[in-house]
């Protein structure tokens, strides 16, 4: 069992460091008053570096799109199939890819499902953000 571990970029090093405490940080441009995902060296709207800061997410969101993988994307995930890959709209205003876990049948995950953060340990003490169902299905 295993995943391809994320290749950490310089821009996102603070994000991954915070996952050691199971905190989810969202990059934010103070000049544009907008969240940024994925974390970048500069804001993709104003190209400023000095206006970037990090805000902690509450870790709640909604499934935007979902696909159950019936074959593993790579051999190391062979014992995980079937598993659900989703795009999740965080309430912080960003859309991220993740897995929706802690369900008996991944096929029951639908667009609009409310989700919350959960974590899976990585080799280096960091944690990988995942999501699990948290309440009812909302309007998509």
């Amino acid at each position: 069992m295993g995943r391809l571990e994320p290749q950490v970029s310089d821009a996102a090093a603070p994000f991954w460091e915070a996952t050691k405490q199971r905190r989810y940080l969202v990059q934010w441009c103070d000049a544009c008053a907008q969240p940024i995902f994925y974390p970048r060296e500069v804001c993709p709207r104003c190209l400023s570096a000095g206006t970037l800061l990090w805000r902690e997410s509450k870790g709640t969101g909604t499934v935007h799109a979902v696909s159950v993988q019936h074959r593993p994307a790579n051999p190391t995930m062979a014992d995980m199939v079937p598993y659900a890959v989703a795009l999740v709209d965080l309430d912080d205003g960003i859309r991220v890819m993740s897995n929706v876990v802690n369900v008996d049948d991944p096929a029951t995950i639908v667009v609009g499902q409310a989700v919350q953060l959960t974590w899976e340990p990585l080799a280096d003490g960091c944690n990988l953000p995942l999501f699990e169902p948290a309440g009812p299905v909302k309007e998509s």
Partner: protein, 398 residues
């Protein structure tokens, strides 16, 4: 002013190779050489006349190998739509005098290579820490590229009520075209139930919602409208062309239900001076059934969200091909059998152009759409990332 592109350049030679076995006996440069020779012969021009080249790996290496001295060169990489991008660039180059004759050539043989033990060509890689996909997507195990299209299908179904049966209809109709093409990989008729009963690979997409993996190759030659008139075959004119892209990774796609084709499609039609109702043959890159459904919407054949009901009410299969002129109940689409049933060697955009040209010349044999005067080749590259639209027409459309 892009509108000046209309009618300035023409496709004058085409070739392609595919096999019902999915496998070709010639590979690599030898296969490219065969395609070049066939396209030159089709056009009636000499290799020495080629002064521009487009190649998806290295235009420099290809030109060196084939002894071409190029004053126009292009190795743009946009995925499988790149052949429509090359057509746009080549047409612009000959329209402005940068080049006289541009060659676009492609060969890829994943099946023959596997049998011969030839490893896949290394993909361009980015250093660790500089590849967002390796940081934000790959840990989650999405099968690529089909999983990305599955996410788009999931969203389209949730938002617009599009059904698996409607997506399957696209595969069924495309197969009906393939049954008329002796070189198609799969020719036996299929039903909607066959698609829905095929293995679910990445929900909501089944095996038969997905394109093939085959060997394939092709070439086309672009020259000026003036020169084209003196060559062997009736010229197929570039009436309009446009390209757009807005993301690389599926998780960064601004709206999973709207491709950049909604930008470049209408733009290419505007340059060409046509409306969707003028299109006699639509060659849309059908990497997956959802891809083609999005093309119908983004090119304006139906409203956004209505692609599912469109394929139920308009016959995109071969039934209307014998009518004197297209009527509103049909839209001949992917008449070679598409990436779904004809061939798909990793990158498919070459075959859109070749088939569009053959239809407009009246060379499409049993699958010929009678009276075809306007054809559209609409490429899709990467994960719905880069779309490129070419509107092609006969002499009568000028």
């Amino acid at each position: 002013m892009a509108a000046t592109l209309r009618g300035k350049a023409a496709i004058v030679g085409v070739a392609d190779a595919a096999s019902p076995t999915g496998e070709l006996d010639v590979t690599g440069r030898a296969l490219e050489a065969r395609m070049i020779a066939e396209a030159l012969d089709d056009a009636g021009i000499a290799l020495a006349d080629i002064d521009g080249i487009c190649h998806h790996q290295s235009s420099l290496a290809a030109a060196e190998y084939f002894g071409i001295t190029a004053r126009f060169t292009d190795s743009t990489a946009t995925g499988g739509s790149v052949f429509e991008v090359y057509l746009e660039h080549a047409a612009s180059a000959v329209a402005t005098g940068m080049a006289d004759c541009v060659l676009v050539v492609f060969a890829q043989t994943p099946r023959a290579d596997r049998r011969k033990g030839i490893p896949p060509a290394p993909r361009p890689s980015m250093p660790p820490g500089q590849n967002p996909m390796a940081e934000w997507e790959m840990p989650y195990g999405l099968q690529m590229p089909k999983g990305a299209y599955a996410l788009a299908a999931s969203r389209h179904m949730a938002r617009y009520g599009t059904t698996p049966e409607q997506l399957a209809t696209i595969a069924v109709k495309t197969r009906a075209w393939a049954s008329l093409n002796p070189r198609a990989r799969y020719r036996d008729a299929i039903t909607v139930d066959d698609v829905l009963d095929s293995e679910m690979l990445v929900s909501p997409l089944h095996l038969l919602d997905c394109c093939l993996v085959t060997d394939g190759a092709g070439a086309f030659i672009v020259t000026s409208a003036e020169r084209a008139r003196d060559l062997r075959k009736p010229p197929v004119y570039v009436l309009g062309a446009a390209t757009a892209h807005d993301h690389m990774m599926i998780s960064q796609m601004p709206d999973l239900t709207v491709t950049p084709g909604a930008i470049c499609g209408p733009r290419a039609f505007e340059v060409a001076g046509i409306k969707p109702g003028d299109v006699d043959v639509l060659m849309g890159y059908d990497s997956f059934t959802i891809t083609q459904l999005l093309h119908f919407e983004d090119l304006g054949f139906c409203a956004k969200g209505e692609g599912g009901s469109f394929v139920e009410s308009v016959d995109i299969g071969p039934s209307g091909r014998s009518s004197a002129k297209r009527h509103s109940g049909t839209l001949p689409t992917n008449t070679n059998g598409g990436g779904l049933s004809y061939t798909h060697p990793g990158m498919y955009g070459m075959f859109l152009v070749v088939e569009a040209v053959r239809q407009l010349r009246g060379e499409a044999d049993a699958r010929q759409v009678q009276g075809a005067e306007v054809a559209v080749a609409h490429g899709s590259g990467m994960v719905l990332s880069c779309m490129s639209t070419a509107v092609l027409g006969t002499e009568a459309t000028l």
